[in-house]
Symmetry: D2
Subunit: 283 residues, 4 copies
């Protein structure tokens, strides 16, 4: 995701200092004019706005709090923007610690695929200071088709988790629909076509219709493993805030079962294959 967004920013003319754990990944950006830094700290020292896009909470924690991390190098008055999907509690903590370092922090997870990152059609879900959000408008426009300011720190992270929990449950519903229809003798392509034209026709249904009809879950746009991680963050937030989410909870169980039975690097829509298996459907 990160390199797609960085490429768009450098193409849009923003002066960019970049860092990646795997230095090689920064090379194409360097070729387009980005300066390559040796540590997140160096990036922060060189930048008014720092953007981070990382795979999981552990990487976010290390990149901000490490001895060579962002907070060690941040300028007074800077804006720090985390585009990763993490728990709202971590976002809130980063906001507090950024303020101590004289900077403002925005949690700004992005919704969309790697392809959307390259095409600049992500949705950017932002929490934190409104003025900081406004100040980042040109950046958000470069990487996304739309951005939302959703409230104080943690609001962007919260919205992202909610959104992914909803997405996972919609796909679980589709998986059950396909398994039932097939066992009743319907053609899977017809099932996804009809649902794809119904009131339940989320864009994900149309986008994945062919893959589901053909059982093609490789390569993954978003893996079952990552979906389990995001669903768990959502359920953890729900547990903390005392919110029952039974449909999301059983969806999580099916994602877990899909991961445990060898599908963890398949696309998250491969819960359909699990539900077909559990229904005794053979194509």
């Amino acid at each position: 995701m990160g390199s797609g967004m960085a490429t768009r920013l450098v193409n849009a003319g923003f002066p960019l200092t970049v860092w990646n754990r795997t230095a090689l990944k920064a090379e194409p950006l360097a070729a387009r004019g980005a300066r390559v830094a040796g540590t997140p700290r160096e990036v922060a020292a060189a930048s008014e706005v720092v953007l981070t896009s990382l795979a999981d909470p552990a990487a976010v924690t290390e990149t901000y709090y490490g001895p060579d991390g962002v907070l060690a190098g941040t300028r007074r008055g800077a804006i720090l923007v985390d585009l990763s999907t993490v728990a709202p509690a971590l976002s809130k903590q980063l906001a507090v610690d950024s303020e101590r370092a004289g900077a403002r922090f925005l949690d700004a997870p992005v919704a969309g695929s790697i392809k959307a990152a390259e095409e600049g059609t992500l949705a950017v879900l932002v929490g934190g200071d409104r003025d900081a959000y406004d100040a980042c408008q040109e950046i958000f426009k470069a990487i996304g088709r739309i951005s939302y300011h959703l409230g104080p720190s943690g609001s962007g992270a919260t919205m992202k988790l909610i959104s992914n929990a909803m997405l996972a449950t919609v796909v679980q519903a589709l998986a059950e629909a396909v398994a039932l229809g097939e066992k009743a003798g319907l053609d899977p392509a017809a099932i996804v076509e009809v649902i794809g034209a119904s009131s339940a026709a989320a864009p994900v249904v149309k986008a994945k219709a062919a893959a589901i009809a053909e059982r093609a879950y490789h390569p993954a746009a978003f893996t079952l493993k990552l979906m389990q991680k995001d669903l768990w963050l959502a359920l953890s937030l729900a547990n903390e805030l005392t919110v029952p989410m039974p449909a999301a909870a059983v969806t999580h169980d099916m994602v877990v079962a899909a991961n445990a039975t060898g599908r963890s690097d398949h696309d998250f829509t491969a819960v359909t294959a699990l539900m077909e298996q559990l229904a005794g459907v053979t194509r």
Copy 2:
């Protein structure tokens, strides 16, 4: 639903003989030129194609099998089309009994609201003889924006149940998302807006966004009571065919709880109010 469809048919120039349990309901159609019959049997005796649209399986059974029912009056070579939502087993039985009476039967439940029936934008999901389906093309075009031939008898009924189970689960997912977001401090209008622009943005999300944000579940486009009926038909089919549907099953439980706590005549999206209540959310 029935009078919306009948009005479109008479307006499209089809010669129409109509019957309704409540005779009064047939009057506006009579005013537009439809002949009013005293029983379903009379309708059948007068028609090459017989269309039925009824509230539940009991009404369908009575209308077809009663002494003054459709099967008692059907012409040889007629096509009988049931637009109601019933179990596939009943559709299959009707097909067998129609054949005995010298007629062909199509199960053709429609997907869409009362408004869609009036506007002719329903989707017609058809099972049964392909030639009979083809012969009804003009009729399906008058009442729907699209029709599908999905396979032998029962296929239309099956697809309708699958489709409604999916719809209910999508709305349950949305209800959980809204409850979690609100308890985390987000604005409900923002939650439905963001989800309405995401990969999980089923048309139902956009159509119901304002109602959910304003907690306006009255009048109902489709009641929780009817949704429980349809979900149960879907789960019964799944039980019969040995297909596990955990997300649909817990969705059914929440629909049941909403019905048992006084919301049965609210719109089916009022599961959102239940999930807010169970999360201790107060607006």
Copy 3:
């Protein structure tokens, strides 16, 4: 079940007229002095108290309502006792129709295994007329260790469904516990031993501990197929009465998945094997 109970009755000195679909099954009873009848009607014509024990609702319906059925032959003043597990609605209907035939009807499903039937340690769950219940005390004592009068017609059937739904959910909970413990590295025998000494130690846990530890689900004391049937009757009653049962519902889904993946003639505790499989546990 039936022959175990009948053997106990004949051994206890009750004069017995018996009938079985498979005539051969009645022979051992004949050898002990029972009279063998050719139809349920003949049994009814010969008896003051008629006991029926059948596999499913269809068999009950046929045995009572068929042309050679119980109701066709019943004496005025007789007591008809159905020991099968059926929906309360069917029990209530049988009570109404028995009354029309001048007899009284008790729904009296029994809880316990085939072994318990042979040993006379069943629990008899009775609904219907209190005087009829009192009049059958000696019979209930011959077949069970305890009997309960639970209320009007249907109350016994209801209690049996509730009891079996509870049993299935307890076993599902145990299956999840075993799968989690094993994947965490615990010995399955230790898991069932510790649970078998805890507050959650239902008799079923102790009775099935060895079988679960050894993965020995054959022969079945009660098959997964029959458990799906009983769970479905319970869930159907809950749907009808508008009662949400989320734990029983997902338990049903796992029982369905176990049946669909080739375990339908295994003991109902074989959901443990399914949960191990879905957890990726290999022993």
Copy 4:
């Protein structure tokens, strides 16, 4: 729990040094001859075996790792025994850090009520070094009716979480059974009596039968709030180890809903009141 166990130990003649956050709570023990220490560190410095019993993971972490904590004062060769319910990962970490401090660590959560702690009838579920376990036999005999050595560090913690997840699910199953039975017209006292004599009759069913029949959930033996905590620890372990637990997951959702709707200090069996409410049952 802690003071019940400590009282039994001092009564059994063990020389005891005690510490409690609330100094007052140590007084009755001092009156019986226990020495009172000012910090956990002092307890550790004075003891060959250190026992800790704390409310939650945060308290455990602080009591072991704080500057005046157990690890700061532990003697070489000591055995540290944590009787609290925490995540296995924390137990394993404590074992590693205890070893660094020259001590051996046992995770030894106890199963049973406050009353059981006073009466010495707890079950002690132990993970860690076998020799250390053997060396603590007399202590475990003083506080419990039984102890189990379940494997390496973390095994006791794991078994406790499994056991509590099972217990919660059994009670959820009972709650659903009671709600269904009541709505069908059965007497709640009869329902719990019959289930209390069935194969699903866990000791918890019998222990709570009267309370459920009378809807008396106060005072709590174990609160819904604490059950949510323990269930969440179990589900977190399951998520980490990739084990689906759908019945435990929906049970957690109902516990959450009970907590969110004002029942958090009620006994954990008060999910029955929630399920009655959701079924529209009024007594």
